[in-house]
């Protein structure tokens, strides 16, 4: 693979809560997204995937660390540079209901980016471009003058994808693009994303809590736990040879469509709950739920280290 399009180094994002507490949503995360690849980010609900993705592309301000887009620090860009950068990196949001302004028509929703950056010279050209994008994402172009409440979740998500696509981005952050949708629609949206990637040479960061979907489409996967990356590897290696006990548990929870194998294999059932990111445990954050935890795990924090080529894990066992 080629050079990284996005490089994140020691990124931290803390939220200030009332009573002088801080919530460490993302704590010291480093990773890179290579040009043209699909990077999956998985982890259970509340582990900081959304915050990590949004801070990495500059949608949220950072607390510490840096995020470089083609070598340039996103959080330190000048205003004009930043505006230009917005066309290169876009987001598809998790909730297709909250992410579309209910008072705007489809055409204005999709054209918002084009309006901001003045990508057209006449009203007719604007409409033409929008209709073309709509047919690209599988929306009937005759719907341009409708309001979002007239659409189903899947159609709304297509509007969201069209809005992102309208500014010709290079990198798209897909934040759980299908988790709010019906199972029957999910495959359609994933297929659409894959198709658009082929056509437009896109790079994706796909956030999900559904490991089986991410494994299916990603080149590389980051596993997050409580604001930290605990394992990073290629999708195949992660599936064949998961190193971190947390990843092992996640993978053992994916059902296998073969009753014999499914019955025979052993599942790792995690006990306990995700600890609070306000007071994360010292040492390994997963230690309290880890079936293999030793005394050292509770005292000393494991570093993310390379175990095999391109396979990193943060666990004392390795």
């Amino acid at each position: 693979m080629s050079s990284p399009i996005l490089e994140v180094r020691n990124l931290k994002k803390y939220f200030r809560l009332s009573g002088n507490r801080t919530l460490k949503a993302v704590d010291d995360v480093s990773f890179a997204v290579n040009e043209g690849e699909i990077l999956g980010i998985v982890g259970e609900s509340g582990c900081g995937k959304t915050t990590c993705g949004r801070t990495a592309i500059g949608l949220y301000s950072k607390t510490a660390g840096e995020a470089l887009f083609r070598g340039e620090d996103i959080h330190k860009m000048s205003k004009s540079k930043r505006k230009q950068y917005c066309c290169e990196v876009q987001t598809v949001f998790q909730d297709p209901y909250a992410s579309l302004d209910p008072k705007n028509k489809v055409i204005d929703l999709i054209a918002e980016g084009m309006d901001i950056h003045k990508f057209y010279t006449s009203k007719g050209e604007r409409r033409e471009k929008i209709e073309e994008i709509m047919s690209q994402v599988g929306l009937n172009p005759s719907f341009v003058d409708r309001y979002p409440f007239e659409f189903s979740g899947g159609m709304r998500q297509r509007i969201g994808i069209a809005r992102a696509l309208a500014v010709n981005p290079k990198l798209i952050l897909c934040d759980e693009p299908i988790s709010a949708l019906d199972v029957s629609i999910q495959a359609q949206i994933i297929n659409l994303l894959m198709e658009l990637r082929e056509k437009n040479n896109l790079t994706y960061m796909i956030i999900s809590h559904d490991l089986s979907m991410v494994k299916h489409i990603s080149d590389r996967i980051l596993v997050m736990y409580l604001g930290e990356v605990v394992e990073e590897s290629t999708a195949d290696a992660l599936y064949e040879n998961p190193l971190h006990p947390y990843t092992q548990a996640l993978i053992s929870a994916i059902p296998i469509p073969d009753p014999k194998v499914e019955c025979a294999r052993k599942r790792i059932v995690l006990t306990g709950q995700l600890p609070s990111p306000v007071n994360p445990p010292e040492g390994c954050r997963f230690a309290g739920r880890c079936p293999m935890a030793e005394a050292k795990c509770f005292d000393c924090k494991p570093e993310l280290k390379t175990v095999e080529d391109g396979h990193k894990v943060a666990c004392h066992k390795y």
Binding site: R54, I57, L59, R82, K83, C86, C87, V89, Q90, T91, F93, D95, A98, S99, L100, D101, P102, K103, N104, E112, G113, I116, H117, Y147, F149, G160, R163, V167
Partner: protein
């Protein structure tokens, strides 16, 4: 957008208001001069010539009601427009600014809310040149705060919505987000607030005129007519009833209209 669904209250109140407004607009068609004193014709009972009778100066009450309605409606409408425009801008700027500016602006609004506004309006009307513009400005000066508060609260919640984040991600600046998202989304609440604002402005104008601080005599206004009728309340109570009923019906209709609009916009109260 939620489809607007009219209900009975909305239709009736809108119809009554339209009738009142049209009647007031057509006041010059009346054959009588609203201010001409005709001592010989005083205290006439309602008849075909004088629908509501005549008052203590022999003036046609119906004509004076129409002219008075023009003043009340005009003052109500204009002060509503001024206070809604100012209140909406103030609320949106306050809500979309940082904590310090927002805090300062809201405390300022609180100060305006906590002063005895009616007394200050009276004082201002004594010292400023009497007339409709003075009334409008002084009433608006003390009625923009509730609109500002509503709009600010809505802006604060809009700020956290994902479509605003999406807009920022597309490179939108603050001005863009305010004009393209905030204004459109606070519109329905502002519409409701505007009907309530007209109603209370009409009440304030009537109270001022009743106390003699509003529109100058002999020009007609509903409040002023109430004041004039007061002296004859024992002998000719109907004089007070006409003007009083007009104020009551108009204010009630504006409030009912506002409520109905709010209900038709609120998905939770619709069946």
């Amino acid at each position: 957008m939620i489809k607007k669904k009219a209900n009975v209250g909305m239709i009736i109140s809108a119809a009554v208001l339209i009738v009142i407004i049209i009647a007031c607009l057509m006041a010059p068609l009346s054959p009588y001069d609203p201010n001409l004193v005709k001592p010989l014709e005083k205290f006439q009972s309602p008849s075909a010539a004088h629908w509501f009778g005549t008052d203590n100066f022999g003036r046609d009450v119906f004509t004076r009601i129409l002219y008075g309605g023009r003043v009340s409606l005009l003052v109500g409408f204009l002060s509503m427009v001024v206070s809604i425009i100012f209140g909406t801008l103030y609320g949106i700027i306050s809500g979309s600014s940082g904590k310090i500016v927002d805090g300062f602006m809201m405390r300022l609004a609180d100060i305006f809310m906590s002063v005895p506004s009616f007394l200050i309006i009276i004082t201002l009307n004594i010292y400023l040149k009497a007339g409709i513009s003075t009334l409008v400005i002084t009433i608006a000066l003390f009625s923009w705060m509730s609109v500002a508060r509503i709009v600010r609260a809505e802006t604060l919640s809009l700020k956290e919505r994902e479509f605003v984040l999406a807009s920022e991600g597309l490179g939108a600046g603050k001005f863009w987000i305010i004009t393209k998202h905030y204004f459109k989304n606070v519109f329905s609440s502002v519409l409701v607030a505007s009907t309530n604002s007209i109603a209370s402005a009409i009440l304030t104008e009537s109270s001022l005129s009743y106390l003699g601080f509003g529109i100058t005599i002999p020009n007609a206004s509903w409040g002023g007519m109430l004041d004039g009728a007061q002296k004859y309340i024992m002998t000719h109570p109907s004089l007070a009833v006409y003007a009083g009923a007009c104020i009551l019906i108009t204010v009630l209709c504006f409030n009912v209209l506002g409520n109905s609009i709010r209900q038709s916009y609120d998905p939770k109260s619709r069946r």
